[in-house]
C-alpha cells in the first residue's frame, strides 16, 4: 500500500540563546530523525509525554512550521520543498487538516459556529455561492451530530463536547485526506470523550480519512488506532501495530509507560517506576541512548553507542540494544 504521508529523517532543531558572544548556539533537538509512515484511511497513534516532541512533530506534519532538515512526502511528492506559508496558499493545504487540543482556545471567540466552519470551506474549497456554502456547512455539522440550532451560537455558549465537535466539523468540511489531532479529548470529560472518539472512527471508516492521533493517553490510543508510535526526547523509540505495542512492548520506556497508566482492569504488566531525571534535549549526546539515566536495564553498551530503530519482525520496531 502506498503511503499517504511519509516523513524522511525529519528534524526540528531550535536554536537557543548564545552562551558567549561569538560562540556556537545550543540547539534544542525537539524532533530528531523521524521516519513515520501513515497509510490512507489508517489511524496512527503518536504517544509520548511532555517534551517528547509529539506536538512539534504534529505541527510539522500539518505544515504549520518548516523543519530544519528532512522532508515530508504526501502521496509520494515532497511538500517540504516549499515553505509553510507557500503551502498555506497551495491547493494541497486542504489535504491535511488539524484538530486542536483546547476546544476553547482553538475557536475564535468572536465568530459564530457557522462562520467558523464556513471560513475554511470558503477559502480552501473556493465555495462562494451562499446556498452551496450553507449546505456544505450544514452537512458538516450533521456529520458530527451537531444540532443545526447551534450554528448561530458563539463558542462560549457551547459545552466542551460541542466545541470539540465544531473543531472536527471545521476540519472535515474540506474533505481532507489526513487529519492531525493534537490531544483532542484531553480537555473533555470522560463521559463525552466516547462520543468524540466514536465519531472520529466513523469519519475515518466512512470517508477514508487517515488520522494521526497525538496523545499522552495510551488507553485511548489503543481503542482508536491501528498502529502506535511511542516518542521519547524527539525520537521514536517503539513502533508497531496496536496489539504489538500495547500487549507486547519491547522498549523499556514503553513498558514503564504502560505500567504507569492507571487502568480499571488489572493488567499483567510488571510494575515499573522510572527513577532519575530525563536527559536534556539540548545538544544531546550522539553516542548515548537518550533513555539512559532513567532506564532500568541500562548497560555499558548503551552509553557507547546510541541504538537505531530495529525491526523486530512483523513491522514491530524498537530502539533498544536489548529489545
Amino acid at each position: 500500500m502506498t503511503d499517504l504521508l511519509a516523513t524522511r529523517d525529519l528534524e526540528m532543531h531550535f536554536p537557543m540563546e548564545r552562551r558567549s558572544f561569538l560562540g556556537p548556539r545550543d540547539r534544542l533537538h525537539a524532533v530528531d530523525g523521524i521516519n513515520l509512515r501513515i497509510s490512507a484511511g489508517e489511524a496512527v497513534g503518536l504517544v509520548g509525554e511532555s517534551g517528547c516532541g509529539k506536538s512539534t512533530l504534529s505541527r510539522l506534519i500539518c505544515r504549520l512550521a518548516d523543519p530544519t532538515a528532512g522532508e515530508i512526502l504526501l502521496n509520494g511528492r515532497s511538500i517540504t520543498d516549499k515553505s509553510a506559508a507557500e503551502f498555506g496558499r497551495s491547493p494541497l493545504r486542504r489535504q491535511i487538516q488539524m484538530v486542536f487540543q483546547d476546544p476553547t482556545e482553538s475557536l475564535a471567540p468572536h465568530l459564530t459556529v457557522f462562520e467558523l466552519i464556513a471560513d475554511p470551506v470558503r477559502r480552501l474549497l473556493g465555495v462562494t455561492d451562499k446556498t452551496l456554502l450553507a449546505k456544505t456547512v450544514r452537512d458538516s455539522a450533521t456529520a458530527v451530530n451537531l444540532p443545526e440550532a447551534l450554528l448561530t451560537r458563539y463558542p462560549h455558549q457551547l459545552s466542551g463536547g460541542q466545541k470539540a465537535r465544531v473543531g472536527i466539523a471545521r476540519a472535515v468540511a474540506v474533505n481532507p485526506r489526513l487529519m492531525v489531532l493534537d490531544e483532542p479529548t484531553s480537555a473533555l470529560d470522560v463521559s463525552v470523550q466516547a462520543t468524540v472518539l466514536q465519531l472520529l472512527d466513523k469519519l475515518r471508516r466512512e470517508r477514508g480519512i487517515a488520522l494521526l492521533f497525538v496523545s499522552h493517553d495510551l488507553t485511548v490510543v489503543r481503542l482508536l488506532c491501528q498502529r502506535i508510535a511511542v516518542m521519547y526526547l524527539g525520537q521514536i523509540v517503539e513502533e508497531g501495530s496496536t496489539a504489538q505495542v500495547y500487549d507486547g512492548p519491547r522498549h523499556p520506556y514503553t513498558r514503564a509507560l504502560l505500567s504507569a497508566v492507571p487502568t480499571l482492569q488489572p493488567r499483567a504488566v510488571k510494575r515499573q517506576r522510572l527513577e532519575g531525571e530525563p536527559q536534556t534535549p539540548i545538544n544531546p549526546s550522539p553516542s548515548r541512548c537518550r533513555f539512559g539515566g532513567r532506564c532500568p536495564i541500562e548497560a555499558g553498551l548503551c552509553i557507547e553507542k546510541a541504538p537505531d530503530l530495529r525491526d523486530l519482525g512483523g513491522g514491530h520496531l524498537a530502539r533498544c540494544h536489548f529489545a
Binding site: 496558499r89 493545504r93 488539524m98 482553538s106 475557536l107 471567540p109 471560513d119 475554511p120 476540519a171
Partner: protein
C-alpha cells in the same frame, strides 16, 4: 456578542455606581458639545464693556471676563472645540498606531525591533515639549494642534496593539486559521484585530482626557487656537492675569470644565474596562 455586552453593561451599571456616574457625565459633556452654541444664553463673542469683570451672578452664572463676555456661554461653547480637538487627535493616532502596532506585533523580527526602538526614541522626549515644537515648526493653526497631539499619542497605541497581538498570535485559533489557508492579512483583520479592539478602546477613552489637556495646554501657551475663539486653554491663560487682582472666576470656570472633562474620561476608561474586559466578568 453585542447582546452579551449589553447585558454586562446593564449589570455593571447597576452594581457599580461610579461607572454610572462616568457614563452620565460623559453624556452631559457630549450634550454640551453638540448643543452648546444653542443653549448658551449669550453670544460668546459679544463683548460689552459695561458689564466687564462682573463676578458670578444671576444674570451671568460664571461672571464676565475683561471684555464683558459671558463666561458661562464661552465655557459652554468651548466644549465643542475642545472635544473636537481631542477626538480628532485620538481617532487619528488610534487608527494609525493600531495598524502599525498590529503589523509589527504580528511580524516580529527586525521590523519589530526597529519600530520598537523608534517608539522608544519618541517616548524619550518630553511629549508636551515635542508637541510644542511641532506646532511651532508646522505653523500656528488648529489642524497642526491636532496633528501634533496625534503624533505624541502614537507610541501608546503602537505599543499596546503590538503587545496584544503578540500575546494572541500564537493562540490555537490563529493556528487554526492558518490551517484553513488564511493569509497573514486575513488573520490580522478577521481574527486578531476584533479581539484586540477592547483594550484599544479603553486606552482611547483615557487618552481623550489627556488629549483635551494637551490641546488646552498648547492654547494656554499661545500655540494653536487664537483669540477670540472660545477654548478652555486660552480662557485659562487670559484669566490667569486676573487672579491676583481678585477676579478669580475668569480662570476658575474654564479650569473646572477641563478638570471635569479629564476626570470623566478617566472614569469612562475604568468603566469600559470593567464592561469590556472578559476576565473581569463574573
Amino acid at each position: 456578542m453585542t447582546r452579551a455586552t449589553l447585558d454586562t453593561l446593564r449589570y455593571n451599571l447597576r452594581e457599580n455606581r461610579l461607572n454610572l456616574v462616568a457614563f452620565l457625565l460623559f453624556a452631559l459633556i457630549l450634550l454640551c458639545a453638540i448643543f452648546g452654541p444653542w443653549l448658551a444664553p449669550y453670544d460668546p463673542l459679544q463683548s460689552n464693556a459695561d458689564v466687564a469683570l462682573q463676578p458670578p451672578s444671576a444674570q451671568h452664572w460664571f461672571g464676565t471676563d475683561q471684555l464683558g463676555r459671558d463666561l458661562f456661554s464661552r465655557v459652554l461653547t468651548a466644549t465643542r472645540l475642545d472635544l473636537t480637538l481631542a477626538f480628532s487627535a485620538v481617532i487619528l493616532s488610534c487608527t494609525i498606531g493600531s495598524i502599525i502596532g498590529a503589523i509589527v506585533g504580528y511580524r516580529g523580527g527586525i521590523v519589530d525591533g526597529v519600530t520598537s526602538r523608534l517608539v522608544d526614541v519618541l517616548m524619550a522626549f518630553p511629549l508636551f515639549v515635542l508637541a510644542m515644537a511641532m506646532v511651532a515648526a508646522l505653523g500656528n493653526s488648529i489642524i497642526n494642534v491636532i496633528y501634533a497631539t496625534a503624533v505624541i499619542n502614537l507610541p501608546f497605541y503602537i505599543r499596546l496593539t503590538r503587545t496584544e497581538v503578540r500575546v494572541r498570535r500564537d493562540l490555537a485559533y490563529v493556528e487554526a486559521a492558518k490551517v484553513a489557508g488564511a493569509s497573514d492579512f486575513r488573520i490580522l483583520t478577521k481574527f486578531l484585530l476584533p479581539n484586540v479592539a477592547s483594550p484599544i478602546v479603553i486606552q482611547a477613552s483615557v487618552n481623550l482626557g489627556w488629549a483635551v489637556l494637551n490641546a488646552a495646554g498648547l492654547s494656554f501657551l499661545g500655540l494653536g487656537v487664537k483669540p477670540p475663539t472660545p477654548e478652555w486653554g486660552i480662557m485659562v491663560a487670559e484669566g490667569a492675569k486676573f487672579i491676583t487682582s481678585g477676579e478669580w472666576w475668569i480662570a476658575f470656570f474654564p479650569s473646572l470644565a477641563l478638570m471635569l472633562t479629564v476626570f470623566t474620561f478617566n472614569l469612562l476608561g475604568d468603566a469600559l474596562r470593567d464592561i469590556l474586559d472578559p476576565r473581569m466578568r463574573t
